[in-house]
């Protein structure tokens, strides 16, 4: 069956006339997301099938539940979404219903003492950050920006500016409420127990976060709809109100008060010729900081991060790039006096000793790199306000490679991935991208004091299908090379078709996850385009499912 007048009328009864539409103009606003090559290609393949048949706005868990039950009765696919920033939140086939959560936008609880908040899907990071800040707390914000849904990001996928202490989304999610694909509601963590409060993440019994999330990703909306989460808040050494100066795109934030200090550290190597040494030294810095357990932020930023986040216009970005404002990559560190000023000063002393030990140099305040980064954009890493600048070089952006492992292995992975990207470039793949921004360096994001680490390298194609295909080709080549050297930790972060490709090499994990999918989504209607499929599919079947093209 598909989405019919009966389906529409049933949904209308649930949410009321004003909270549902099947008008093509209103639905058109849910039909394109082209900042990623995958989104461009999805639109190329699916055309107007990417436009939902209906957009419905539930106002409560009960309404979500009713909607899902109707979807099961009439067997039409539905897509849960947060702010709708990634291509997974868009249909690949006609007759799909999108659940827009704008009416579910409450902060249900903000617990200062026990440092958590309970939120609904349409609460943006900036909102919860602002509320937490009043109590000396904060929430990590993702590189996707503080405008995205905190719930979706924590429940599904997210990496943060201060992952050095907070980890990724997986580490920030506490309890959750989930409407399963068959319409049943389940709550996890202490949220499951009446009167227990919302403070805790696992139990009773097995931790259902393990069922909801996976790797960096969860089920991409394939396991129902999260309607509520509780999430961690963290001690914040900064002020109660985020400090800014200037207006609009010339608004900068360079200080977070007396208990917060930023540092840029560089290593004396030629760039890009000696990039390997620079990356390895950065790793040493992080390992030492991890041993000492100091710092609030510790990250290695390649040129593309520095240039994009700090540039106030596209022209400024390209000028800064051409003028080599950041002649190399840098490590960026923040120390925060969460105990006291004395603690901050102690950590500064340790940091200085470590930097000396590993042969690094602090970037001086009068250097252009410091002026452009610390004075303009460093605080961005705490509360992302200008995140989409990352796509500004070419109005399109793609992660070229990513991986999760030790800091050492991540350095190795960056070099190996960059080599794949350079080799591709020699064949002409990526020649029209913003270069050389698309082949050097990477973001090293050590997590939880460096116990583990993730990286990304980025490529900047234009929104041109041919270039986007090239970007996807590069991602594929990098992934293949990772498999060849048995380091494809990225492969374990699976979505949709990747389950069938990689599952057999990973203990047949795809069969277990598919069994779960069959159990909980018997009609295969919870975002079928991106979740794993109930059965193993052939390439051809996948192409059909994904709207006709390759994925």
């Amino acid at each position: 069956m598909a989405f019919t007048d009966f389906s529409y009328s049933a949904l209308q009864d649930i949410v009321g006339d004003e909270n549902i539409t099947n008008d093509p103009v209103l639905c058109q606003a849910y039909s394109r997301v082209q900042w990623l090559p995958h989104g461009v290609m999805q639109r190329e393949r699916c055309g107007l099938n990417m436009r939902p048949a209906c957009v419905v706005m539930p106002g409560s868990t009960e309404e979500v539940q009713s909607i899902v039950k109707v979807a099961n009765r009439y067997k039409f696919p539905f897509i849960p979404r947060g702010s709708g920033f990634t291509f997974h939140a868009f249909p690949t086939q006609g007759g799909t219903v999108i659940l827009d959560p704008k009416r579910m936008n409450r902060i249900i609880e903000l617990n200062e003492k026990d440092m958590y908040a309970v939120i609904e899907p349409y609460v943006a990071f900036a909102q919860i950050f602002a509320e937490a800040q009043r109590y000396g707390l904060y929430v990590p914000t993702p590189l996707a920006g503080s405008q995205v849904s905190c719930l979706a990001n924590f429940a599904w996928h997210g990496a943060y500016g201060n992952s050095w202490i907070t980890g990724i989304g997986a580490q920030n999610l506490l309890g959750f409420e989930l409407v399963l694909p068959d319409g049943e509601v389940v709550r996890s963590g202490s949220m499951a127990c009446p009167d227990a409060g919302n403070f805790w993440n696992d139990g009773p019994g097995p931790d259902l976060r393990g069922f909801l999330r996976g790797g960096m990703f969860g089920h991409a909306g394939g396991m129902g709809i999260v309607t509520k989460i509780s999430c961690k808040l963290w001690q914040f050494a900064g002020p109660e109100v985020f400090p800014t100066e200037g207006n609009a795109n010339m608004k900068f934030s360079s200080s977070l008060g007396d208990l917060w200090r930023w540092y840029m550290i560089k290593f004396p190597f030629k760039y890009p010729e000696e990039e390997e040494q620079e990356l390895k030294k950065s790793a040493e810095l992080f390992y030492e900081m991890g041993k000492a357990e100091i710092g609030e932020v510790a990250t290695h930023l390649a040129q593309q991060f520095l240039l994009t986040y700090s540039s106030v216009t596209k022209q400024d970005l390209h000028d800064n790039m051409n003028n080599n404002v950041f002649p190399q990559s840098y490590c960026v560190v923040a120390l925060a006096g969460k105990t006291s000023l004395e603690q901050l000063e102690y950590e500064e002393k340790v940091l200085k000793a470590i930097v000396k030990k590993v042969g690094g140099v602090f970037v001086e305040e009068d250097e252009p790199a410091y002026k452009v980064w610390i004075k303009r954009a460093a605080n961005e890493w705490i509360r992302f306000g200008n995140a989409q600048r990352l796509a500004r070089p070419s109005d399109n952006f793609s992660i070229g490679s990513s991986n999760v492992d030790s800091i050492d292995k991540i350095v190795y992975e960056i070099l190996a991935s960059n080599k794949v990207e350079k080799d591709a470039l020699e064949e002409g793949i990526g020649k029209d991208f913003v270069q050389p921004l698309s082949i050097h360096g990477g973001w090293i994001s050590p997590q939880e004091y460096g116990y583990w680490c993730l990286h990304t390298t980025d490529v900047f194609p234009e929104q041109d299908p041919e270039q986007c295909n090239q970007a996807i080709e590069i991602i594929g080549r990098v992934g293949k090379s990772q498999f060849q050297r048995k380091s494809a930790a990225e492969a374990i972060h699976m979505l949709g078709p990747a389950y069938d490709m990689f599952g057999p090499m990973l203990g047949d994990v795809h069969l277990y996850v598919k069994a779960l999918k069959r159990e909980f989504d018997p009609n295969n209607i919870s975002n079928p385009g991106f979740a794993t499929t109930p059965d193993v599919l052939s390439d051809e079947e996948y192409r059909k499912l994904m709207g006709g093209g390759g994925h």
Binding site: K113, S340, V350, L516, E519
Partner: protein, 495 residues
């Protein structure tokens, strides 16, 4: 598989093809040792016990059991506390306590990989040679498997965020006998068996593959898969440490200062013990417990300040200053030792890193046995729950002065495991019955009032899951998906 095994002999015959016959046990007296544990919560002998030495053996046994639909209960420790490894429906117990290899210590990435039978004592001893420590619970039993303790999510004594979840990767046998690896071990599955010097992965990624097994499996009491090997985060042994104590007359008075100490990130280890529990640990002889308890503050918050490689004196100095500042704020007095109990700080310092090594397990010292109720709560609610426990204990005629109390912060104080213990004489039928009734009544009432029972042992499963809506059904569906024949530790968690 249509064939049915009708006799134990047929089963042992099959098992002996998998492992050496000397490691297959059917002697009733031997099996008796697997029929109960210190919880005395249930009593059921397995039909056969197999002592295994490798994951491969586990795999073969599970496959066999799955083929013939025979229950399999994994057991890694030589002792149990909550009935988790008692084979409620008989069948095979896979005893992994002989899997004793500590396979690798990665000092750069700070992890240790070990097998199911390794105890904390063994682990700490080996790690100490490299300057590291395992992140252990408070004073575990010397026979407790570190792997089981981790999977059971016993609260770690180090409350830091980044050490809240310590599991990196795992090797496990699924209910269908499939060998499965989690996290980055999935991509380098040869690693656990034979570890070369240079692994393709450093086994630091704990997520995936697919879903987050590192979370789904712990707390499942061996019902979803049998973990045989894991690597977990470890920490450097501090170069300096200094224990600070705060004494309180009531639990209520401790709440605000304790929150504040944790908010200021002071102390690698922080915990609160009541006088009874603390005395139980400090007494060199059980006879002294009463007298030591009498001279201790009613409630003691213990904060262990540490410092490492860089400028340890200075680190200590800022921490001590912060402690002094807090003391002034709350009008409380920090103590560097416990009055009337000489060297208490030294005894405790040693105990922070080690399993209990002074004869009878500390919780049993007072009366020979004890029953514990533990759950998670917010610190601010702990006094309310203590009141409930005291009321029920008083009604049951249990002496309040005998109750032990331990509060262990997790995640920098977001949550606390609250443990109350009721020591009793296991030889007395009356006491056993009284304790059993008290335990059930207190558990019920605590759950009703919102105490969060997160580790679900024995009767708690029914009590908790009957109050959590669709959660149990969801878990059962997951269980059915992975273990359609319900062979893994059946009966646990209400499965």
């Amino acid at each position: 598989m249509t064939e049915v095994l009708s006799t134990i002999e047929e089963l042992t015959g099959k098992l002996e093809k998998v492992v050496d016959s000397t490691r297959v046990f059917t002697d009733p007296e031997f099996l008796e040792g697997y029929a109960s544990d210190t919880s005395h919560s249930c009593n059921k002998k397995p039909d056969v016990v197999v002592k295994v030495l490798s994951t491969g053996e586990v795999q073969k046994i599970v496959k066999l059991a799955n083929d013939y639909k025979i229950p399999v209960t994994p057991r890694s420790s030589a002792t149990g506390f909550y009935g988790a490894a008692i084979p409620e429906q008989g069948g095979i117990v896979i005893d992994m306590s002989s899997m004793k290899n500590i396979r690798r210590i990665d000092t750069r990435n700070k992890w240790v990989m070990f097998e199911a039978g390794v105890t904390y004592g063994e682990l700490q001893e080996e790690l100490a040679k490299h300057g590291f420590r395992a992140i252990n619970p408070f004073l575990p039993h010397k026979d407790k498997s570190a792997l089981t303790s981790t999977l059971e999510r016993e609260p770690r004594i180090v409350h830091k965020h980044h050490l809240d979840e310590t599991i990196l990767t795992m090797e496990m046998v699924m209910p269908d006998g499939n060998l499965f690896h989690t996290g980055s071990m999935a991509i380098s599955p040869q690693a656990p068996e034979t570890i070369p010097d240079e692994l393709p992965s450093d086994l630091c990624n704990f997520h995936g593959p697919g879903i987050d097994w590192f979370r789904l499996i712990p707390g499942s009491l061996g019902t979803l898969g049998i973990v045989t090997v894991m690597n977990v985060k470890i920490a450097l042994i501090p170069e300096k440490q200094k224990m600070m104590f705060f004494g309180f007359d009531s639990l209520e008075e401790s709440v605000e200062p304790f929150y504040y100490i944790l908010r200021k990130l002071l102390g690698d280890e922080c915990l609160l013990l009541n006088s009874r529990y603390l005395a139980t640990i400090l007494a060199s002889d059980p006879e002294e417990i009463d007298s030591i308890s009498a001279v201790l503050p009613s409630y003691t918050v213990i904060v262990n300040l540490t410092a490492g490689e860089w400028f340890p004196e200075e680190k200590m100095a800022y921490q001590e200053k912060a402690i002094r500042d807090i003391s002034r704020t709350f009008f409380i007095k920090p103590m560097e030792s416990l009055p009337n109990v000489p060297d208490a700080e030294k005894v405790l310092a040693r105990h922070l890193l080690q399993p209990w090594d002074n004869g009878t397990y500390w919780k049993f010292r007072a009366e020979g046995a004890s029953r514990e109720i533990f759950f998670l709560t917010q610190l601010q609610r702990a006094p309310e729950f203590l009141q409930i426990v005291n009321t029920i204990a008083a009604e049951s005629g249990y002496p309040l002065s005998d109750i032990g109390l331990y509060l262990q912060p997790k995640q920098n104080g977001r949550s606390f495991q609250m443990e109350v213990s009721f020591p009793y004489n296991p030889e007395s039928q009356d006491e056993r019955e009284m304790i059993d009734a008290l335990y059930r009544e207190a558990s019920e009432q605590l759950i009703n009032k919102g105490a969060f029972f997160y580790r679900i042992y024995g009767p708690w499963a029914e009590m908790v899951y009957s109050r959590t809506g669709n959660l149990h059904e969801t878990l059962k569906r997951i269980k059915r998906t992975f273990d359609p024949n319900s062979i893994l530790n059946p009966g646990k968690l209400g499965f």
